[in-house]
């Protein structure tokens, strides 16, 4: 009996502080815009626990840009306030003037997370292709940290693998840890154990990681590393977790 009570107490403490992963998110209405879809893409930005559909406050980011055909444009002033998963987020309708791949990137303000005694900065990217032209799908933006795709980050079937290189300051990060989480939007996916809300894979010696998504939908990949600098909080220097986040959509297989 004593053992059961102890187990229940432990379960309660876990439930009070679930081990959910934080994700910066840029989710377009469609990652592959055809001319029949119109001339714009609609983006929704948030800072969330995507499997639990639990939002957190996303302050207006430090930077929000789009890169197309080697040219980067500042879109920060075009973000519209929005409520996303019951918390502060942003939306943006962006006109796609020409074919090719558009890479949307967000650098958020440092997020103080008392439970981790650290700041979190997730450099977040999503790739959108326009009008049947995928040129630029492997673009590297030169962010402080980023996942550079080795698989096209759109146009993947469910159960395909996605591969990317984890980079920090332009260099591959050997054996980087990459957290993977599903955007559980309208699918009511459940897990047999909390451990499976966020899965983890490691990169190889060249910083390359691989993951096969079990179902269609949006999947977020976050490579987490500790910054080589600190930020002040309450008079003390605190560690900064740098996340390289990329969102990839897998399509539903249509064959029998």
């Amino acid at each position: 009996m004593k053992r059961r009570i102890l187990s229940a107490a432990l379960a309660g403490s876990v439930a009070a502080t679930p081990a959910l992963a934080h994700y910066g998110m840029i989710i377009p209405n469609d990652p592959m815009i055809s001319q029949e879809d119109g001339r714009t893409v609609s983006l929704t930005m948030s800072f969330s626990h995507p499997f639990e559909m639990d939002g957190m406050m996303l302050d207006r980011p430090e930077a929000f840009t789009v890169t197309h055909d080697g040219s980067t444009t500042d879109l920060l002033g075009d973000l519209q306030d929005a409520t996303v998963m019951d918390d502060q987020g942003y939306t943006l309708d962006f006109a796609l003037e020409r074919p090719g791949t558009y890479v949307f990137a967000m650098e958020p303000k440092p997020y103080w997370e008392p439970a981790e005694d650290a700041f979190i900065i997730h450099y977040t990217k999503t790739y959108v292709t326009a009008y049947g032209d995928d040129e630029g799908w492997d673009a590297e933006l030169g962010l402080k940290t980023e996942i550079v795709p080795l698989s096209k980050p759109f146009g993947l079937w469910e159960r395909n693998v996605f591969q990317g290189i984890v980079k920090m300051d332009g260099e591959a990060v050997p054996y980087a840890e990459v957290e993977v989480e599903f955007l559980n939007d309208g699918t009511n996916a459940t897990v047999p154990d909390e451990l499976m809300i966020t899965q983890t894979v490691k990169a190889d010696a060249n910083g390359v990681f691989t993951y096969a998504a079990p179902s269609y939908g949006w999947w977020g990949f976050a490579a987490l590393n500790t910054a080589d600098y600190t930020l002040p909080q309450d008079g003390e220097d605190k560690a900064v977790e740098l996340g390289a986040v990329i969102w990839v959509h897998f399509e539903e297989w249509t064959g029998q």
Binding site: Q35, E36, R98, P99, G132, D133
Partner: protein, 115 residues
Amino acid sequence: MDGPVIRAVGLTALLAVAPVAAAAHQLVVFASVDCQAVTVEAKFSNGKPAQQGEVRVLDGENALQTTLQLSSDGTALVPLASVDYATGLVIEVDTGGHDNYWIVTPEDIARKCGR
């Protein structure tokens, strides 16, 4: 009938006359408009421009307006004055082995002409 409805009807009609592209996915066709002319661009999915090919310009009711040839850089210029674009335009490019199309809607033209 108000403006958006007219545009919606126009796009529906344009889609109805547009060719099926499923068998021509390796050629990327795009057309931009600057109020004076339509610039047609055709390239293959490896990024190389289509160096020759026939460009057919049809209106939104599938009536052929004009035919011209791609330049060696994969482009062609269609002066708006040379075509009836009131119902939009369907730009078809056929290189012989590949073909695809781009739809210029009345809204595309109006937006570039400041209307």
